[in-house]
């Protein structure tokens, strides 16, 4: 338990710790990365073709691990399925369980349909264990007829179409888990889903830009300039929208008659000043907006433009994380007594400590690395280059 200032109720603690920051972070990244693959699969945005399948795999990697921090946080993880078996209709968390399951299913289906030609190809070409593995993935159909290819294309479009509302609702429901709690003034806003959705898309695009740059660096290939520019434009648009909605939230709270919110906001500023003003606002929002405007409006070499895009993308991911950190943990700092605050001292080891959460946050990246080995998303690129 952290240090205390003033008077707090005896049972008040910071009950939601780092895993509950990592959980919406992973969910947001998963829904944000989907956006890029949707633009290609659904709207035929050719500029994003190079990253679209990669983004799809990233989405799958992140959504697969999004519920792990929740499990770690639960007092009884073995009862986790109660949330699916006896969901309470009025609980945003219970609804989230179902939407998460549906979204995970959609992503798995989409990955399967998109990569089926490759899976079949590997199943036919490889030997031994590898062959068995890919054969299982083919679900017993080891050919792709032209007719099937045409049908699959339609199905991919249908899934991508379904995934748009599902992803919106998914990240929105994470926001609603917080937004429906009137007892915590910094969370209580029914439009919190909107902030989550917009931040999620910005963060997702940001992370994909970074990962794409890392992957290309690893392969020794050049970044696709048109693709980077297109992603930067989307990034800027969603960053501005996020800022706008956050600002509206600030206005309606700050100028409303709400002493609870005023107290909580003061507490956040004094306790989490650096991560709120320094990281979330200046480094995470103002800096990338300036950088993105510069790289989009000014003439510069492709190399510099890519470097700026990657830099601002890293900052946007920082923005997403600090936004969630300040919201989830910062929101719990102010006591319900309005006469004191809790102070947060994260522990390093332990179930809800930094180490476990860091490992969980890295897991999707490891899975993504494995996935890119199993289902190379740059296949076409190789052929085109060769």
């Amino acid at each position: 338990m952290g240090q205390l200032f003033g008077f707090v109720f005896p049972d008040e603690r910071i009950y939601w710790q780092i895993p509950i920051v990592v959980y919406p972070f992973l969910t947001c990244i998963a829904t944000g990365t989907f956006f890029l693959s949707t633009l290609d699969h659904l709207f035929k945005n050719k500029a994003l073709k190079p990253v679209s399948n990669f983004a799809l795999l990233a989405s799958m990697a992140f959504v697969s691990f999004a519920s792990l921090p929740l499990l770690v946080h639960l007092g009884h993880p073995e009862r986790a399925f109660n949330i699916m078996f006896t969901p309470s209709i009025r609980s945003a968390m219970a609804t989230f369980g179902y939407i998460y399951g549906f979204y995970l299913g959609l992503v798995l289906l989409e990955v399967w349909f998109v990569f089926r030609p490759q899976i079949v190809e590997f199943a036919l070409a490889s030997k031994g264990v590898k062959r068995a593995f890919y054969s299982i993935l083919t679900l017993g159909v080891r050919e792709v007829t032209p007719g099937a290819s045409r049908i699959d294309h339609g199905i991919i479009k249908l899934i991508a179409f379904l995934r748009v509302p599902t992803a919106c609702v998914l990240s929105g429901y994470v926001g609603l888990i917080f937004g429906t709690l009137d007892a915590v003034p910094l969370w209580s806003w029914r439009l919190m889903p909107l902030i989550f959705l917009l931040s999620a898309v910005a963060g997702g695009i940001g992370l994909i830009t970074v990962l794409y740059a890392v992957a290309m660096k690893g392969k020794g290939w050049k970044l696709d300039a048109r693709c980077v520019r297109s992603m930067a434009a989307y990034l800027l648009a969603f960053l501005l929208l996020t800022g706008l909605v956050q600002f509206i939230n600030f206005l309606r709270s700050n100028y409303g008659d709400n002493p609870d919110w005023q107290f909580a906001f003061q507490t956040l500023k004094s306790e989490f000043g650096f991560s709120f003003i320094g990281l979330q606002l200046i480094a995470g929002w103002v800096a990338p907006v300036v950088l993105l405007l510069a790289l989009l409006l000014m003439k510069m070499k492709d190399g510099l433009r890519s470097a700026l895009a990657v830099t601002s993308s890293i900052l946007v991911v920082v923005h997403l994380f600090t936004f969630l950190w300040n919201l989830v943990i910062g929101g719990q700092l102010a006591s319900r007594t309005l006469r004191g605050s809790l102070s947060f001292q994260p522990e390093l080891l332990g179930k809800e400590g930094i180490l476990v959460s860091a490992v969980i946050a890295i897991c999707p990246l490891v899975l993504l690395f494995i996935l890119t080995k199993i289902l190379p998303p740059y296949q076409k690129k190789v052929e085109a280059a060769g």
């Binding site: 008077f7 005896p10 009950y15 009884h76 009862r79 109660n82 219970a94 009137d182 319900r336």
Partner: protein, 260 residues
């Protein structure tokens, strides 16, 4: 603090025995005789809890007996007593029985500490205020539970199910009164139950039973003419944080605006 006549009369009533206090103590007992013979029915109860903060002397017996009765793990409480001290300059200082525990002194006792920060001459007003779960008629903690592990019993008592709760802590966040906590032994949500296991047996909640001054009163308002029904009808009652629309069933006789 000068003792005026009104104050004197008020406390005279707690000092003079066989006044209101023993009466209310027997209020459940009377129904117990009849209902203990029959099986307890979940229907037809309207429990209410009345806190008369003017009678609280801050002995902390309620907290001790609650912790014993409900085996509340160390570091947490299901009920507590707050002390509001107003200085002549208008500053409000709040502390609770719990602060002594927090400083790891006399762990079992839950006494109030000497208020060292304020000289006695500076104090204009001071009072104690017991707190516990409000068993809201419209509880914010119940609908948020994703699995149905916290609920309102048919009598309107808000209970938890430690054998079904998976410990997400959502209900703890939803409570505006901060009365819920995560039990570090069961790893599930825990809270005051109004000693549900006692009241169904016709007994009073432990804190009411032990209170030496009758600052805490409990009863079934569905029994016409019962003392609690009379108080509910006649007295000026207040609830905590009315702005949340939770409709608490813990009523306070006299509630100062500085109380949150």
């Amino acid at each position: 603090m000068r003792v005026n006549r009104r104050d004197f009369l008020r406390y005279a009533c707690l000092i003079v025995p066989a006044g209101v206090v023993p009466l209310s103590r027997r209020l459940i007992g009377a129904t117990a005789e009849s209902s203990a013979k029959q099986k307890y029915s979940l229907e037809g109860h309207k429990y209410a809890f009345i806190v008369d903060s003017t009678r609280c002397i801050g002995c902390g017996e309620c907290v001790r007996s609650c912790n014993m009765e409900n085996k509340v793990p160390e570091g947490f409480v299901r009920t507590w007593v707050e002390r509001y001290t107003t200085t002549k300059s208008g500053k409000v200082i709040v502390d609770s029985t719990y602060d002594v525990w927090r400083q790891r002194k006399k762990a079992e006792r839950f006494n109030f500490e000497e208020l060292k920060s304020v000289p006695a001459a500076d104090i204009s007003k001071a009072f104690f205020l017991p707190k516990l779960c409000n068993h809201c008629a419209n509880p914010p903690c119940v609908p948020v539970c994703p699995v149905g592990a916290t609920y309102q019993s048919p009598e309107g008592v808000v209970l938890t199910d430690p054998n079904y709760c998976f410990g997400c802590g959502y209900c703890i966040q939803a409570c505006p009164y901060g009365v819920r906590f995560k039990n570090p032994i069961t790893h599930t949500a825990d809270k005051c139950t109004w000693c549900y296991h006692r009241i169904v047996k016709g007994l009073l909640p432990a804190c009411v039973e032990i209170c030496p001054t009758g600052a805490r009163q409990f009863g079934d308002a569905a029994i016409a003419g019962s003392p609690i029904a009379q108080v509910l009808e006649s007295a000026k009652l207040h609830v905590l944080r009315k702005d949340f629309g939770t409709n608490p069933k813990v009523y306070y006789i006299e509630l100062n605006p500085e109380v949150r």
